[in-house]
């Protein structure tokens, strides 16, 4: 905890030129908004890709008007080719995992609110912070550019298993230049996230204002801190893996390609590489990535719920310890993606038990959330609806983990839609509900205006029911043995499942379209929304102590904030209101429960 250094950062005056203020800004708030904007563009792109995929899965020979404009060879006569389906699928997964689920909950919200929540004026390395965004943006452009080169983007799936990803154009469309662009984009993305993580960690450890001990950090700040530690270690593994993959393409190396492979009757010039090496490196990043996507959601949802329950969580520390346990365990469980990969079957058991154990901190989190609802004074608004929806989705997505943690059951469910349903619910839809909860909750602080609650609630209801209509049937498909990553279902035992796929497609189209309500609400309210009071939710943490909404350049208008209380002083008996701000010097009997 430091008293003064936070001042040093913003001692320079606020920038006035358009470029320094809005484009190459050093201000963590602008960078947070830039990340949010990038995530919005990415999520819309990813969603349109999922629509195209779903239409094709429902009706394989369907003409999708105008599709040939996206790719003449990928959609001759507006009908998607098998390879183009896989290319769109790969881009959908990559864009969503990296540029939405990592950027929005972590980089966007974290950038904007972490420094304010710790009482700092900015992050310690503002230039690194600016670089982190622009590097990430460059990564996005590089990835998108693969749509427009040669035979299009890679088709190897977001997991990019070698040697399909490593042997080059001989393996299929997109596996030449498209693949190199993918690996380059992700390597660049890793650099951005490493710079960001570094800033998040140092902000949390070194930039806390007077009185802000670690245990006084709000749960959202804890979540971003824990996520940044995961980010620093996980992306540091993915980046070299991607570089090795690029070298297999451009330098004739064979890191991931074994000897004596024959593709299209040609003996490949590689030798001595290991297919499983890629899988180990990828999942050593990949499983922590699941928690990089969801832990910020846990923090944000806790933060939003607390303000709307008018009480702290049953235990602040248990939530922090549980999120920390998830982060640590996430590195020990990654092998559950590889039970039937051909690695030693004893290893499968070794990876199975930590995977089963990880259900314990997850269960504790759910029980603390639900247990905290008990005896609360729950306010229902769009933000709290999305937060409650998050819990429901997290339970639904979590219990399917019981199945996938067991190697014996994985024999049946591996690579089926059961897995797709599991990870979409638990790391995608739940995380997106966390993003929505945070968006509706913090919008007044970021813009100074309120979002439209009626539109917000319509958005919630249709999205909540829609998400279940899409992703619950995925589990049924998986139980029936429906293999994922198929562009059509030609196997006898799969043909009967096509009507269920069509139901999912219709649900996905409707639920996707509903997101336009959110987009409209976001843009319209940003300009025309009702003026927001400074603290519309009567919340206690420091972001609600800034002198204006949006906060001034230095966040607290030159005031050196001092923190006197734990973050969530709600339900205070005898207080004028039922809450006391974190920086209020008022003497109160703390409601903290750690006795």
């Amino acid at each position: 905890m430091h008293d003064a250094p936070a001042h040093a950062v913003h001692q320079h005056a606020a920038p006035t030129s358009f470029i320094r203020k809005y484009v190459f800004s050093l201000d963590h708030k602008v960078i947070g908004k830039q990340y949010y904007g990038l995530a919005l563009i990415a999520v819309l792109t990813g969603m349109v890709l999922s629509w195209l995929m779903r239409l094709h899965l429902g009706w394989v020979n369907l003409k999708i008007p105008g599709l040939h404009l996206l790719s003449a060879s990928g959609a001759p006569g507006d009908v998607m080719t098998p390879e183009y389906y896989l290319q769109l699928m790969t881009m959908h997964g990559t864009i969503m995992v990296f540029f939405v689920l990592t950027t929005a909950p972590f980089a966007a919200f974290g950038n904007y609110f972490l420094p304010i929540q710790v009482g700092a004026e900015d992050m310690p390395f503002p230039r690194f912070n600016m670089m982190s965004f622009w590097v990430t943006f460059t990564a996005f452009l590089v990835l998108i550019s693969s749509f427009f080169v040669g035979d299009g983007p890679t088709l190897a799936g977001w997991t990019q298993y070698a040697p399909l990803s490593a042997v080059g154009a001989v393996a299929g469309p997109g596996q030449g230049m498209g693949e190199v662009l993918w690996a380059s984009a992700i390597a660049i993305f890793c650099v951005g996230q490493l710079l960001g993580s570094l800033n998040f960690i140092t902000t949390t450890l070194d930039m806390r204002t007077k009185g802000m001990s670690l245990w006084r950090l709000p749960l959202s700040a804890w979540a971003w801190f824990i996520t940044s530690v995961m980010g620093l270690t996980a992306f540091a593994v993915l980046m070299p893996a991607c570089i090795l993959l690029i070298l297999d393409h451009v330098a004739g190396t064979s890191f991931f390609v074994a000897s004596n492979l024959v593709i299209n009757d040609q003996l490949q010039p590689h030798s001595g590489g290991s297919t499983l090496l890629w899988q180990h490196l990828f999942w050593f990043f990949g499983h922590p990535e699941v928690y990089i996507a969801i832990v910020p959601g846990m923090g944000v949802v806790s933060h939003v719920l607390i303000a709307n329950m008018r009480r702290p969580m049953l235990s602040h520390r248990v939530i922090v310890y549980s999120m920390g346990a998830l982060a640590v365990l996430s590195y020990m469980v990654y092998g559950h993606h590889m039970f039937v990969s051909g690695m030693n079957p004893f290893s499968s058991l070794a990876f199975s038990f930590p995977t089963l154990i990880i259900t314990i901190p997850s269960t504790i989190l759910v029980l603390i959330w639900i247990g905290s609802l008990y005896g609360s004074k729950l306010r229902i608004n769009t933000a709290s609806l999305f937060a409650l929806g998050f819990i429901s989705l997290f339970i639904s997505g979590g219990v399917s983990g019981f199945f996938l943690a067991q190697p014996s059951i994985d024999i049946m469910l591996h690579a089926t839609y059961f897995v797709v349903g599991h990870f979409h619910l638990v790391m995608a839809v739940a995380a997106i509900f966390g993003i929505f909860a945070g968006s509706y909750f913090w919008f007044p602080k970021v813009t100074g205006r309120m979002m439209n609650e009626t539109l917000g609630k319509v958005h919630f209801w249709l999205t909540f029911v829609g998400a279940y209509c899409i992703f619950m049937p995925f589990h049924y498909l998986g139980i029936a043995g429906n293999v994922r990553r198929y562009q059509a279902f030609v196997d006898d035992y799969l043909v009967g499942l096509i009507p269920l796929h069509r139901f999912i497609t219709v649900a996905a189209l409707i639920t996707g379209a509903v997101q336009l309500i959110f987009l409209y609400n976001l843009i319209h309210s940003g300009f025309r929304g009702e003026k927001a009071p400074l603290n519309p939710w009567q919340a206690t943490s420091l972001e609600w102590s800034t002198p204006s909404s949006p906060p001034p350049f230095d966040n607290f208008g030159g005031r050196h904030v001092v923190v006197y209380h734990d973050p969530y002083q709600y339900g205070i008996e005898g207080a004028t209101d039922d809450y006391v701000m974190q920086d209020s010097p008022a003497q109160i009997q703390s409601v903290r429960d750690e006795k």
Partner: protein
């Protein structure tokens, strides 16, 4: 609106469970010796996960119902037992539940992977490649001839890269595009890929195993019912991945013997 959310959550939970309870969508019926262990493990997990799922959603719904509409002056109350009670509950209930599942699950896994194949198990080699499976039977000498990758050529139909002019063991090898096996006779599958990662998934047999480029992987199983079953690829291998399949024909011993003879004659 809190009450509507509560009802919606509980309704979604119950409706989601209906197709599971009614067995609306199920895996193809098991036709293997070991498969019942996987099915039993699956059923047990379904029961326990199902209870956890319903209990979690219903509790969430009930609390939202009860506490979303409290009087303004009401006092905040704590859940009986507090956080510590819930933590202990999570460790005791879920901890023991999942660990028990894990321990019992080892049995099914070890049946497939830790038991060596029987001495009289019939060896069959399967080679995966974009986008087909090919099978090889060792012929009367019981030996597979060596593979020469540089000789693999689909154009000349030398699918396994055999050199029958120089390798005596290759001469009687029988290469097929369909896999036939005798019923109730253990098969020892020797798996390799000629190009990329693929997988061997036969839902009815309750087996799924990836092919690993550069590695020989083995699997053994016994089919218990005569019939035709689909073998599909589950490891994304390129544009034709969805169509990479073969049939597994489980036959009586007599039918199998004639089939093999016929195939040998066709070589």
């Amino acid at each position: 609106m809190g009450k509507i959310l509560a009802v919606t959550i509980i309704l979604i939970a119950i409706l989601s469970a209906v197709p599971i309870v009614m067995h609306t969508w199920v895996a193809p019926a098991d036709v293997s010796v070991h498969g019942h262990l996987i099915d039993e493990q699956m059923a047990e997990t379904m029961a326990e996960a199902g209870i956890a799922f319903l209990a979690g959603q219903i509790l969430l719904g009930l609390f939202i119902w009860k506490f979303s509409d409290v009087k303004p002056g009401a006092r905040i109350k704590n859940f009986p037992g507090g956080a510590m009670g819930l933590v202990i509950g999570a460790f005791l209930l879920v901890g023991t539940e999942v660990l028990a599942l894990g321990v019992f699950g080892v049995k099914a896994w070890s049946e497939v992977y830790f038991q060596p194949p029987a001495a009289n198990a019939m060896p069959i080699q399967v080679q995966a490649g974009q986008f087909a499976f090919y099978f090889r039977y060792p012929g009367p000498d019981g030996k597979f001839g060596p593979i020469h990758p540089e000789l693999i050529n689909e154009g000349t139909q030398n699918l396994f890269g055999l050199d029958q002019d120089h390798d005596p063991a290759s001469k009687d090898d029988i290469v097929t595009a369909e896999m036939a096996i005798p019923v109730n006779h253990e098969v020892h599958l020797l798996m390799h890929t000629k190009d990329l990662g693929h997988s061997f998934y036969v839902p009815a047999l309750r087996v799924q195993q990836d092919f690993v480029p550069g590695l020989d992987v083995t699997l053994h199983f016994t089919a218990t019912k005569v019939g035709k079953y689909e073998i599909v690829c589950t490891q994304l291998c390129g544009l034709g991945h969805y169509n990479m399949k073969a049939y597994l024909d489980v036959m009586s011993q007599g039918d199998f013997d004639s089939w093999l003879k016929q195939q040998a004659a066709n070589q």
